[in-house]
Amino acid sequence: MSLNNLFIFNSKSKQISPVTNALRTVFWFIFFLILLDTILNLLFPYPSDPLDVSPSQLSRYFDYGRSVEAKVRRQIGPTDQTSSPLSRAGWLNSDERKTLPTQPDSGSTLLLATYGMSFSSQVSEAVKEIDPHVSLRLIAGPTAPPNFSFTAYNLDRKKHNADVVILGVLASSLSGMDAITGMNWNPDVPPSYTFPKYYIKDGNLKSISPEINSLEELRKALKDKQKWQKFVAQMSTYDRFFNSFIFTHNVLDHSSMIRLIRRGWQQKHIESITNKIHTAKGFNPKWDQIPVLKAIIKEFTNTAKADGRVPIVLLLNDQKYDDHLFKILQTTLEENNIIYVSSHKIAPATNLKNFVGDGHFTKEANLKIAQEVLNVINKNLAKPIL
């Protein structure tokens, strides 16, 4: 039999009816789909060890659509040390904060406390690189929204003697203000830490605290059905990104094909929410969290000034966000004399050269933003650093 005959009917082949031919094709189609599903699962398994932080790109790709709950359960080991680094990050009640400097280090003249995410931490590290007289107290959560940063700042207020405090606001993280955890609005790689959701009542900032506040509590809840259900119920009420098809762990998690479908659903779900928050023209000024963000920024500035510190709002405009973050806050910043640094002119979000592959700023961009932060610090500090 020639190779051609293997693939193609020849003229001497027995004639079969179109219906039989179609049924056979459907059978083989389903057979090969199941086969491909199995092969993908076998070839690209996701490591079960929570401490294995470097699965291959393809393993991650075919795992993105696993339910959030399954991913979170996989991250959590019997102890904090045996849990994945991502699950440990960002908790507001973390003991790790106790090891952070409370005074400038020896040889330094200034302590800079930064509350935000990796972007704001990288800028602060770049500040120290430019000027070694600066010591850093960095508190950050993975892609943390402003409600996390503001809560972290409030909890940390009386625990150090920083001269300058920075509140990092990342444009792409703003939508997280409509959530109480990083899990649902970042479901590809869900950080499990929690934070309060803020709202304005009678002109004042109020908050709803999450049911779970530490990794230890999360570990216990995962074993206690009632507690877990209570937390899930709270997410379904207050977390705009929560969707039970995306969140709930079930048998479908075992199929790589279903995982791809779930990822598609996930993308559409998140896009439908974020489209109401941000479009190519900018942030929607009617979004109910915009007044909350403005109130957070004002309260951060007022309390820091009252504590005798220099408060700086660091606006980080990442890719796809152009100068939108600055535009939505410009009036508030200027009317209230709030000290700020915005990246939109220093490292424009529209220039690909300012970003590395994972979406963070390049080192050069971080140094440029850091230099501006230093200029602002020197301008507003009673005594220049050195």
């Binding site: 293997l6 693939f7 193609i8 009917f9 179109p18 219906v19 031919n21 179609a22 056979r24 094709t25 459907v26 059978f27 083989w28 189609f29 389903i30 057979f31 090969f32 789909l33 086969l35 491909l36 393809l58 790709y61 993105y64 659509g65 094909m257 791809l260 479908i261 990822r263 598609g264 993308q267 559409k268 896009e271 424009p348 529209t350 220039n351 690909l352 050269k353 300012n354 592959g357």
Partner: protein, 546 residues
């Protein structure tokens, strides 16, 4: 509603189920309602436009051929247009709330009528226009046999072009005139319109224009049934992005009973699967990389532009031909054959061959209704070149109200003229016909890619800066273009191999000869890549903007 959505899947399952249950006449009525639902999904106000255009051309068609309308043929379109203005423009449907759990309808009567003057303006203008048209009708019937068809045709063409011009080109022309005046130092104060471009307006106005022109040319008999014509204009598989069907091809299929055939349905399913593969697995996964380079305001390298343009060349083909495949597949399942719109365009060796293979329904439309009436190639070489240039520039402008589309059309016109001039002088001596053919295909592919740069560029400044980089920075491989998603990286080679085989067999049905096991494996691979593509960010069809 877009084809690659859950909404469309549910919609089509319902439509198909009803279609199988209903008798022929009701099938058509159901298809018409379904088409209006499909179109109104974007913006219900656009339905008014399509109904207006339908009524106008239906009456024009009959007036050209018959010279008169029956009372029903006159009153039905009049009533439909007024009802459409009331239902789609005037009533505020937000005030109506339908709950399915439990079944409950609540209407806030106080808010059902709008407070904007513009909505009332449309309703009153429609009433006035309909009354005026009915008053003028007796005078129109009294015109002589030579004047009346011409007059009605001019009315129809002007009406369609007026609609298109108002929604698509008004701001462009005002902006261009304003820039010209500004260049002389004056400060003009023109009014710009704040209107949204109705989806698919270019496609359905061209389609209904060809209907009246063909009747005038006595190539087509007008339909006497308003709802048949309404279905011809709005038939949902091809409504928003073509193919631009000719009434002579589609109308008989819609007015005669259709028989669903098993093989036609299976071929339709394959076309849907293959169209989704092109759109979801390839085009959408490439879009991010292309957009990153073309939307950047920072510096880009030579390699960035080359790669982004090559990817856009694949994206626009997969996006548009994918849409056409799905449209043709959906129509086939309903027993309707739509025309082929793409035939392996990137295997073209010359510019004229490219236009016989790319967006065939548009290029043949332009040929039949523009190029040939201009004189085609019957009035000497110079006039042929001029006619080619005019046709292609207007073809470029059809794609969008922007100067880069005009320049793209101009570029395509120049290519057509050059290839016509150099005909039979392009082979390299010493090379076999096969290698000459390969080289010609490769060379023309590069020219096509540059054309897509003109097409995709966001502004004239970008065209100039990208072209300058392409010429002066050759070999700058400092890449900043993001990597396309996996489905695109795997899907592109699969598509290229598939098309090479299709080109070799010279038969679009070649895959039918595969054994069931091979077909099953091939479909499973396509489905897997579609699912991989589904997990990427969804993108709108590029041609919806036209």
């Amino acid at each position: 509603m877009i084809f690659n959505s859950i909404d469309f899947l549910i919609f089509f399952v319902i439509v198909y189920s009803l279609y199988c249950l209903l008798p022929f006449r009701w099938q058509n009525r159901m298809l018409l309602v379904a088409s209006y639902i499909f179109y109104g999904w974007w913006d219900v106000r656009f339905l008014f436009l399509i109904i207006l255009s339908t009524s106008f051309d239906f009456s024009s068609g009959l007036m050209i051929k018959e010279g008169r309308l029956t009372n029903q043929q006159r009153l039905l379109p009049s009533m439909v247009v007024i009802m459409a203005a009331l239902a789609f423009i005037t009533i505020r449907w937000e005030a109506v709330e339908l709950s399915l759990h439990p079944l409950k309808l609540s209407i806030q009567w106080g808010q059902i009528l709008p407070n904007q003057l513009s909505s009332w303006g449309v309703l009153i203008s429609t009433l006035v226009a309909v009354i005026l048209a009915n008053c003028l009708y007796p005078r129109l019937t009294r015109l002589n046999l030579t004047t009346r068809p011409k007059f009605c045709l001019i009315l129809s063409v002007c009406g369609n072009l007026g609609l298109l011009g108002f929604f698509k080109y008004f701001n462009f022309f005002i902006g261009s005139i304003s820039s010209i005046i500004q260049s002389f130092g004056a400060e003009p104060d023109f009014v710009y319109l704040h209107v949204i471009l109705p989806v698919g307006i270019s496609f359905y106005t061209f389609q209904s224009m060809s209907y009246t022109i063909d009747i005038y040319r006595q190539k087509l008999e007008p339909t006497k049934h308003f709802f048949d014509f309404a279905l011809l204009v709005s038939f949902f598989p091809q409504l928003v992005a073509g193919p631009i069907e000719r009434a002579s091809h589609l109308l008989p299929q819609l007015t005669k009973p259709r028989h669903l055939q098993f093989e036609q349905s299976t071929r339709g399913l394959f076309l849907i699967l293959f169209g989704l593969f092109k759109k979801v697995a390839i085009a959408d996964s490439i879009a991010k990389s292309v957009n990153a380079i073309y939307n950047t305001r920072g510096s880009v390298s030579w390699a960035d532009i080359v790669l982004a343009t090559l990817l856009f060349t694949a994206q626009i083909y997969c996006d548009f031909s994918g849409y056409t495949d799905i449209a043709r597949g959906v129509a086939k399942i309903l027993g309707v054959e739509l025309m082929t719109n793409f035939n392996l365009p990137y295997f073209s060796k010359t510019a004229s061959e490219f236009w016989q293979r790319w967006h065939i329904s548009l290029s043949t439309w332009l040929r039949d209704y523009l190029y040939i009436p201009l004189g085609g190639n019957r009035k000497g070489e110079l006039r042929t070149y001029i006619n080619l240039m005019i046709t292609m520039i207007l073809g470029g402008l059809w794609h969008g109200a922007a100067w880069n589309f005009v320049f793209w059309g101009l570029y395509q016109g120049i290519l057509l003229c050059l290839y016509r001039y150099l005909e039979n002088k392009l082979s390299i001596k010493g090379f076999s016909p096969f290698w000459n053919s390969v080289l010609a295909t490769f060379f023309f592919f590069i020219l096509t890619c540059y054309g897509w740069l003109l097409f995709r560029a966001n502004s004239l400044e970008q065209v100039v800066s990208f072209t300058t980089i392409l010429i002066t920075n050759v070999g700058d491989f400092n890449l900043s273009i993001p990597k396309p998603s996996l489905s695109g990286l795997l899907g592109l080679p699969v598509l290229i191999i598939y098309e090479i085989i299709e080109n070799y067999f010279n038969n679009t049905h070649f895959y039918l000869r595969f054994r069931p096991v091979v077909k099953g494996a091939f479909y499973a691979i396509l489905m897997t890549m579609i699912l991989m593509g589904v997990s990427n960010e969804p993108q709108q069809f590029i041609y919806f903007q036209f």
